[in-house]
């Protein structure tokens, strides 16, 4: 017993401390758009939701105090390696045609300027419809429109492998309407440069 107390218990205590003295850290950053959904950190039975700027926790899911300076010191090189965020453009078309509305021609050109700014880029061409027709029909229609718009980009010299066509159908309305409502503003194509 004396042996246990004298040798094993201190050893155990050191082992436990070492476990707690982990360098692990999670810090939530301020969001550009102000919206923070948060991160849940879980360690065994401990659980904590971090949902404020600079809310932070260690590996044991207990809160720790961290400020902007700490983040810069620990994560400066990591943050410097962040990719340029994706940029979004919306193109509108004359009804039942592949001819762009005059305003959209400028957005089309802006896409190429944005691509030139990046070392490696992909563009995602996402078709959207209004709520006329079924969900399934609109998924297909929006993808067909996205594919035909993709061709405008590959015709201008973008590698087909860097142009991704996506159909979102009526799942992401710009203007909320009931089902079976024609709405030109919902019939659009969004371009993401990333």
């Amino acid at each position: 017993m004396t042996f246990l107390l004298k040798h094993l218990v201190p050893l155990l205590a050191v082992a436990l401390l070492a476990g707690c003295a982990s360098n692990d850290l999670v810090v939530v950053l301020p969001a550009a758009d102000g919206h923070i959904g948060g991160v849940v950190v879980q360690h065994g039975d401990n659980k904590i939701l971090l949902d404020k700027p600079y809310a932070a926790a260690g590996a044991d899911a207990k809160p720790v105090a961290v400020d902007a300076k700490d983040v810069d010191q620990i994560f400066g090189a990591t943050l410097a390696a962040r990719p340029i965020p994706p940029m979004h453009y919306t193109l509108y078309f004359r009804p039942d045609s592949n001819e762009m509305a005059p305003d959209s021609q400028a957005a089309f050109e802006a896409v190429f300027t944005e691509i030139a700014r990046r070392k490696a880029s992909e563009i995602v061409v996402t078709g959207h419809t209004d709520t006329m027709g079924t969900l399934d029909y609109n998924d297909k229609l929006s993808l067909a429109r996205a594919k035909s718009v993709s061709k405008l980009f590959t015709d201008r010299g973008l590698a087909p492998s860097s142009v991704i066509a996506v159909g979102r159908g009526e799942r992401e309305l710009l203007v909320q309407t009931k089902d079976q409502v024609p709405e030109p503003r919902n019939r659009r194509v969004e371009i993401t440069v990333r």
Binding site: G19, S22, N23, D24, L25, V26, V27, V28, L29, P30, A31, A32, H35, I36, G37, G38, V39, V40, V41, Q42, H43, L49, L50, D51, A59, D60, A61, V71, I74, F75, A77, T78, L79, A80, A81, R82, P83, I84, P85, P86, R118, K119, A120, E122, V124, T126, D139, K140, L143, A144, K147, I164, A165, V166, G167, R168, G169, R171, T192, R194
Partner: protein
């Protein structure tokens, strides 16, 4: 012998294939290297190789940065990650349906530092993105955050 499949049927099949929503397959790229400094390698199917800006990454890739090195990746759902020096990240599981934006994104930070901005997968389904460290499990509800993992916990 005449073909069993009629011409209209073939046309129909071709049309269906052309219109089928693009779902992410296991061998599809899941992201692209956007920034890089120093020495960055990817371990794919048991083989380590250098990876450069513009290269794609795939599910099950393990990305490693040497001391003084870093890398930034943008994924198919517009989520973004960057790894700091002397770090290791495994892209365990990535599934993404670009039409519904349903998906799963699980990765493990084995050591080092990581900055994360969540994307469409989390926007559609909060906590469909998880990051494991040797000590903890993170469930992402939608935000930008940084993680440091010890690697020996």
């Amino acid at each position: 012998m005449r073909s069993m499949t009629s011409k209209p049927a073939l046309h129909l099949i071709a049309l269906i294939l052309a219109l089928a929503p693009v779902a992410a397959w296991a061998d599809d790229p899941i992201g692209q290297i956007k920034t890089e400094t120093g020495t960055v390698t990817v371990e794919r199917a048991g083989k380590a190789q250098p990876i450069a800006i513009g290269d794609h990454v795939f599910q099950a890739d393990k990305i490693t940065t040497a001391p003084g090195s870093s890398v930034g990746i943008t994924f198919a759902d517009n989520s973004m990650m960057s790894l700091g020096p002397d770090s290791q990240l495994a892209l365990d599981q990535f599934r993404f349906d670009s039409t519904t934006q349903d998906g799963v994104f699980d990765s493990s930070l084995q050591k080092g530092t990581l900055a994360v901005k969540s994307g469409q997968i989390v926007h559609q389904t909060p906590e469909a993105m998880h990051i494991r460290t040797p000590a903890a499990l993170l469930g992402v509800r939608g935000t930008e955050f940084v993680v440091r993992a010890d690697g020996n916990s």
